[in-house]
Subunit: 118 residues, 2 copies
């Protein structure tokens, strides 16, 4: 496995939560899936400018293992796979909301730019 699942032992809840959110694109994937409900692999790739296919799959697989993401395969040609959030994924996203607000405030304060879709 590229990233070993840790699954504890943990110091505290934040530690446990960070364990599943850490990864360059995970919070963005969470947000995309929450926003669109259901997304195909290529849609996610296009929605996250800069992800490599390798990282996208790796993160999706880990999030599936962690019970945050549901993966639905349609046995068709060309292949079709749909990703969506599980209940845990949705609640995690909800728990991340205040952090998102804090971050948005911070961006305003320090005057950082937001990334624009290249």
């Amino acid at each position: 496995m590229a990233t070993a699942a840790r699954r504890g032992p943990y110091f505290c809840g934040i530690d446990a939560a960070m364990d599943v959110v850490t990864g360059k694109w995970k919070s963005l994937i969470l947000w995309e899936l929450h926003h669109y409900g259901t997304r195909r692999f290529a849609e996610l790739r296009r929605g996250l400018p800069g992800v490599s296919e390798k990282m996208l799959i790796q993160h999706l697989r880990e999030m599936e293992e962690d019970g945050l993401v549901h993966r639905e395969v349609y046995r068709e040609v060309p292949p079709k796979v749909e990703y969506s959030l599980t209940e845990d994924g949705v609640s995690l996203n909800t728990a991340l909301a205040p952090l998102g607000r804090w971050g948005t405030e911070r961006i305003r304060r320090i005057g950082a730019e937001k990334v624009s879709v290249k």
Copy 2:
């Protein structure tokens, strides 16, 4: 610098918030300082079983740069330095609370152990 300050550009608020919380001990430091109000270097070291002095200082310096932590030096011998949270640090900690609750729930669900003080 060991860990370059990123300070954007960011995709979104969560991205910006994660940028300052990412680091093996940062959320724990935040929690310790929030809990005790003010802590000396050696107190923090003892409060976070397993941190190396190098990482502790590195994280504290980054958090100071990021405006989360205040560092008060007393010019005495032996040296005395007190760390505390800034307003931003306190509000970040508050924003992390729901995530902590989610993580605690998750620990219960998956039955992971909590780390015990070795």
